[in-house]
């Protein structure tokens, strides 16, 4: 596996919607390389015929009746949102220019 560099940190941060200062990036790249190297240990194992486990206790898909239940009232969301107006959550502009 490739060594993790600043570029990888930047690309991953972009996907994760995070940003780091220059010094943070340097520190991070170092730690990140060590952690990735540490978890790469699993590549030693041959898993060709092994099925993946996504949940420890197998359960089939859980479905319910498509019936109308009680919803959380909108004013509850207006209260928890950092900014709200007229039954809507307000966010900054979406289109950048």
């Amino acid at each position: 596996m490739p060594e993790i560099g600043l570029k990888d940190v930047e690309n991953t941060a972009k996907l994760a919607k995070l940003e780091f200062t220059g010094a943070e990036k340097e520190k991070f790249a170092g730690q990140f390389s060590k952690i990735v190297k540490f978890v790469e240990k699993i590549s030693e194992l041959n898993t060709d015929d092994i099925p993946p486990t996504t949940h420890a206790v197998e359960k089939r898909n859980v479905i319910r009746e498509d019936s109308v239940g009680e919803s959380m009232p909108i004013d509850v969301f207006e209260k928890t949102a950092p900014k709200a107006l007229d039954r809507s959550i307000v966010v900054p502009r979406v289109i950048e220019h």
């Binding site: 596996m1 994760a16 919607k17 590549s43 486990t53 949940h55 420890a56 949102a81 959550i89 979406v94």
Partner: protein, 476 residues
Amino acid sequence: MNILDLTVKELSGAIAKKELNSVEITQAYLDAIEADHKNPKPINAYISVLSDLAIQSAKKADERIAKGNATPLTGIPVAIKDNMNIKGYPTTCGSDILTGYDTTYNAFVVEKLIGEHGMIPLGKANMDEFAMGSSTETSFYGITRNPYDRDRIPGGSSGGSAAAVAGKLAPAALGSDTGGSIRQPASLCGVVGLKPTYGTVSRYGLVAFASSLDQIGPLTHTVDDARMIFEALSAYDPKDSTSLDFQRKPMSLTGDIKGMKIGIPKEYFLDGMDKDVESVINATIKKLEDKGAKMVDISLPHTEYAVPTYYIVATAEASSNLERYDGVKYGKRDMDAKFLSDMYVRTRSGGFGEEVKRRIMLGTYVLSAGYYDAYYMKALKVRTLIKRDFEKAFEKTDAILTPVSPTPAFKIGEKTDDPIAMYLSDIFTISVNLAGIPAVSVPAGMTSAGLPIGAQVIGNLLAEETILNIAKAIEL
């Protein structure tokens, strides 16, 4: 009689005999919490103390007791880890990003213990930020100290819950366990901590970290107390799609383990292991043999791959679960951002702490194009191998005995700069979460310096009664 010395079972008995009432008990704990705040080195087990709610609930509990329709848990205080919702109060998850968030519904476990049984919520216990840590040092709300040595960590991530019980700031607490977060602090603080079978306790209203691994359980002074609370928590909940729907039966704990076969996995006993931990576990083996159990040498060959597998699976799930903290719907928002995309980035970068960002980054990386198969898919396959190791072991044993933590409680700050050293604190607890099986940490001895050491009893799926019985034999 000192109220703070009593177990849940003893408090319940005293309430039933009218020797104590809930308001007295609750006030004694609130006074103890306040006294701790004045200590120059406070335990700091709580992020928030819910004094008014607690007293109000205690009055109601006393009315219920007087009417004769109480349960054995009615009126008994409990600390709730701050990643479970109590409606109308903050859930911070130990993070700045949830500043300002008051919850809008009760967690299932809160509904059960506080709503149905009338237990008293003393407060929200401190924890590593988003339960990511093994020392409670990543909390935005400051560190929690180990009651046995205040310069040491209590373990984590449920460090507040464990320290509250050990420090007599609550008779019982709820924690959550994703990779050892109930058992490791229980061991380091000398209390009992149970991680139940995945799916036995509903996760509804528990803030998600790694959904396929997270499970809620009790931290208590005794095995009997853990049983009482576990039985109150364990129920089918249609609101959690992974909740198991089966007939739950009351347990009987006698501590009788005659004829039981207990597996001792060689991979958990390595050269160079901590001498105190080694001698406590050896003494525990001897004790169990004296009580009629038979020890069986077993192998869990994929043990050394458990921590790497965990840090792929858990961080991948976390990176997805924590996407919801974007400043839009609740919690903190960076108000200076001009555009929506900036707001996401600035809110998250400012609101999350370092360890949480590190894990989101790792999770994002292992799921990203080009790496998914090599890391994430591979880890899911290794998870199968780890699970099979246990299945094979349980063909010839009733339970498995191991240490909980490779060392007793370490010093505050000792591992904060070395993420991998911190991750290895969970080396003996992580496999259990990957396999979904239950395990309990029970106090088993002390170091010469007076630090507690726990033993871990691991059981097959739904074998809570078996492991608690063995734990009781260790405790007696």
